[in-house]
C-alpha cells in the first residue's frame, strides 16, 4: 500500500494505524499540499513515521499546489504546524529524491498489479502521475480515496475539502479506469470519536496513542463549533476500509467531479439516488458499523504497547 497524504491530524493517525494492518503493508508515503503547505506535510509525514517506528518507509515529496487552481489550506482545523500544534522533534531523515508522481509509478510497477493506493489528501499527485504515465491505471490494484460526499460538503455546502482543493485532479482519478473507492463524508462523518473516546485512546499507554489524543484536541474543538458529536476520523476510516471492508456498506455508482459550477465546484456528483444514471466508474462507501470501527482503531493502537 502506498499512502498519499497531506499530513494533517487525521492523516497522522492514519499513518500510525498503518503499521499493524492485517492485509496491507505500507511501502511508501507521498506528500501533497492540502491541510497545510507541502514543506509541513512532508515534514509531518517523516515525523509521524518516526513516531510509529517506521523509518524504513520512504517519503516522497509531492505537489506544492493543485494542478490548475489556487491552493487552499485548513490551518483552522489542523493548527499552524498541521499536527494540532503539538511540538514534535525534527525528523532525522530527509524525503527521498524521487518526486511523488514518479514514486507512485515506480512503486506500482514494482508491485505489478498488487498496489493499493490510499489517497487521503487532495488528488494532485495522482492527477500528475496519471498525466505522465498513461499505463498507471493498469498497474495498480485500486485507489481508495478519502474525499467528496454523495450528499453535502464541509468546505462549501456542496464540496468536501480534498476534492474542492483540486477538482480537476479528482475528476482525472475518478475517470482513470482503475478501481476507485470513494470514502466520502457520507461514511467518514459517521466514523467519529467522541471526546471521551479520544481520552480513552490517550490512556492506552503507548506514546503513539497519547499523541493521537493530544493532536486531536484542536480538531475536536473545531468540530464542536459545528455541533458535531466528536472528531470525524476521515483519513483513518479510509485506511481501515482499504484494509478490511467487512463492517462497511458500499455501492457501485457513477461519480464525476463538478469543476465548473459557481456554487458546486468540487462536488462529487453521484447517481446513487437520482433517476438519471451514469457509467459506473466507482464504488461509494455509504455506511459503517461505528462500534466495529472503534474497536478496530483501538486494537491497532493497542499494538504499540506490546
Amino acid at each position: 500500500m502506498l499512502l498519499d497524504c497531506d499530513t494533517g491530524v487525521d492523516d497522522a493517525i492514519a499513518i500510525l494505524l498503518s503499521k499493524h494492518l492485517t492485509n496491507l503493508e505500507l511501502v511508501g508515503v507521498t506528500s501533497v499540499a492540502g491541510n497545510v503547505e507541502i514543506e509541513k506535510t512532508t515534514r509531518n509525514a517523516l515525523c509521524v513515521l518516526e513516531l510509529a517506528g517506521m523509518e524504513h518507509v520512504p517519503v516522497y515529496r509531492g505537489a506544492a499546489k493543485p494542478m490548475m487552481c489556487e491552493p487552499i489550506t485548513a490551518y483552522y482545523v489542523h493548527g499552524q504546524n498541521g499536527l494540532g500544534d503539538l511540538s514534535v522533534p525534527e525528523p532525522k531523515r530527509a524525503p527521498a529524491s524521487l518526486p511523488a508522481w514518479d514514486a507512485i509509478y515506480e512503486t506500482a510497477k514494482r508491485y505489478a498489479g498488487e498496489l493499493t493506493i490510499v489517497a487521503i489528501g487532495p488528488l494532485t499527485n495522482l492527477g500528475l502521475a496519471l498525466a505522465k504515465y498513461k499505463e498507471l491505471p493498469k498497474l495498480i490494484s485500486r485507489i481508495v480515496l478519502m474525499g467528496g460526499a454523495a450528499v453535502g460538503g464541509n468546505v462549501t455546502p456542496s464540496a468536501e475539502f480534498n476534492i474542492y482543493a483540486d477538482p480537476e485532479a479528482a475528476d482525472m482519478v475518478f475517470t482513470c479506469g482503475a478501481e476507485v473507492v470513494m470514502c466520502g463524508l457520507d461514511v467518514t462523518m459517521r466514523a467519529f470519536l467522541t471526546p471521551e473516546e479520544l481520552d480513552e485512546l490517550g490512556e492506552l499507554g503507548a506514546p503513539q496513542a497519547k499523541f493521537a489524543r493530544d493532536a486531536a484536541q484542536g480538531v475536536l474543538a473545531f468540530s464542536k463549533g459545528y455541533g458535531l458529536p466528536g472528531m470525524s476520523m476521515h483519513d483513518p476510516v479510509t485506511l481501515l476500509y482499504a484494509d478490511d471492508d467487512s463492517y462497511f456498506t458500499a455501492k457501485r455508482a457513477g461519480v464525476r467531479v463538478e469543476t465548473k459550477g459557481k456554487l458546486t465546484r468540487g462536488k462529487t456528483v453521484t447517481d446513487l439516488y437520482s433517476d438519471k444514471q451514469m457509467e459506473k466508474n466507482a464504488v461509494v462507501v455509504t455506511g459503517i458499523d461505528r462500534e466495529a470501527f472503534k474497536r478496530r482503531l483501538f486494537e491497532l493502537m493497542t499494538q504499540y504497547g506490546k
Binding site: T156, V269, T270, S274
Partner: protein, 317 residues
C-alpha cells in the same frame, strides 16, 4: 367561519400537478383565485390544454392564463417519458369549458394580487418561470405574496440529472430569482416527495370511491406509476401534491429551515438547489425545506379529497 386562504395554482400538468389541484380544490381552507400554466412536463400548448381539462373535470371555474413558450433564458426540456405525449396520458378527460385568458400568466397573477384584499399564497408545481416573471415585472406586488409553497429541487440529490430536480433544472434562472426574493418559501423537494409514495393498494382505495374524479385520479396514478415502477419505485411519488398538503395539513410534514441557493452553472450541477444545513456559509435561512412526511396521513388526505367530489366535479361556493 374560517377565512379561506387565497391561492394561485401554477403548474405544468402533469399527473402529479393534476392530483395536487384535485387536493387544493377539495380543501375548505383554500380559495383558488386563478390557475396559470407553465411549460415543463410538456410544451406550453399541452400544459395549458391539460390545465383546462383538469379544471373542467374538477369543476374549478376561475381564470386561466398560459405562461411563456419557454423558460426565461434556457431552452425548454420536456418529460414525455414520465407524463406521456399529451403531458397527461391515461384516462379520457372532458374538453376544457373555457379558453385561457388573453393575458400572460404573470399578468393574471399580478391581477389576482392587486385585487386581493389580503396576501395570496402561490403554489407553483412546475418550473418557476411564471413566478420569476411576476417578481421581475411587478416588484411592487411582492408584499401581496404571503408565501410560496413550491415543488422543486432536492437538498440531497436530483432526479433528471444527478444533482438537479426537473422543475429547477428546466428554469434555474427563474428559480434563482425566486429563491433570492426574500419571500417565505416552503420547498417540497425530492427529499420529501420521494417519500410521498402512493402504493398500488392506495390506488384501489381511491378508485373504489367511485365518483368520476376519484376514478380519474386512480387512472392517473396507474399511468404515473408505470414510469416509476420501471425504475424500481414501490409506489408513485406524487411530488406536486406535497406542496399543497404542506399548506393544508402541515402537521404531516417535518420541516427544516436552511439557506438554499440555486446553481445556474456547471457541467453536472446546473439546476441544483444547494442547501446549507450545517450553516457553513453563515447565511440566514431563506427556505423552509420539507424533509419528511407521514406517508399514511398523506394518502388519507388524498383519498379524503377525492371523496369530496361527486358527479359533475366540485362546484363549491
Amino acid at each position: 367561519m374560517m377565512r379561506k386562504i387565497p391561492v394561485v395554482l401554477d403548474g405544468d400538468p402533469g399527473h402529479d400537478d393534476a392530483i395536487a389541484w384535485v387536493l387544493a380544490n377539495a380543501s375548505p381552507m383554500l380559495a383558488i383565485k386563478a390557475v396559470t400554466s407553465v411549460c415543463g412536463n410538456q410544451t406550453i400548448e399541452k400544459t395549458t390544454y391539460n390545465a383546462g381539462r383538469i379544471m373542467t373535470l374538477i369543476g374549478l371555474d376561475v381564470p386561466l392564463a398560459a405562461g411563456r413558450v419557454k423558460p426565461l433564458v434556457a431552452d425548454p426540456i420536456i418529460a414525455p417519458t414520465v407524463h406521456g405525449q399529451s403531458g397527461l396520458d391515461g384516462p379520457a378527460l372532458p374538453e376544457p369549458k373555457q379558453k385561457p385568458a388573453d393575458i400572460d400568466a404573470c399578468t393574471l397573477m399580478a391581477r389576482v394580487l392587486e385585487e386581493s384584499s389580503e396576501p395570496v399564497v402561490l403554489i407553483p408545481t412546475g418550473p418557476l418561470t411564471n413566478v420569476a416573471a411576476l417578481l421581475l415585472l411587478y416588484p411592487h406586488l411582492k408584499s401581496k405574496i404571503r408565501h410560496i409553497y413550491m415543488m422543486g429541487g432536492g437538498i440531497a440529490y436530483g432526479n433528471w440529472t444527478c444533482a438537479a430536480e426537473f422543475n429547477i433544472l428546466v428554469d434555474p434562472e427563474a428559480a434563482d430569482v425566486v429563491f433570492r426574493s426574500g419571500l417565505p418559501i416552503t420547498m417540497a423537494g425530492l427529499d420529501v416527495t420521494e417519500k410521498a409514495l402512493v402504493f398500488p393498494e392506495d390506488f384501489e382505495r381511491i378508485r373504489a370511491l367511485g365518483n368520476p374524479v376519484a376514478k380519474v385520479v386512480a387512472e392517473w396514478l396507474d399511468f404515473f406509476y408505470g414510469f416509476h415502477r420501471s425504475l424500481g419505485y414501490p409506489g408513485a411519488p406524487v411530488h406536486d401534491a406535497v406542496a399543497v398538503a404542506a399548506l393544508v395539513k402541515p402537521e404531516l410534514m417535518t420541516f427544516q429551515e436552511m439557506y438554499v441557493e440555486i446553481e445556474t452553472t456547471g457541467d453536472y450541477c446546473r439546476g441544483a438547489t444547494v442547501g446549507d444545513p450545517m450553516g457553513l456559509l453563515k447565511k440566514p435561512a431563506n427556505v423552509r425545506c420539507i424533509m419528511d412526511i407521514d406517508r399514511k396521513g398523506f394518502v388519507d388526505l388524498l383519498a379524503q379529497a377525492a371523496e369530496t367530489y361527486s358527479e359533475g366535479g366540485n362546484e363549491r361556493a
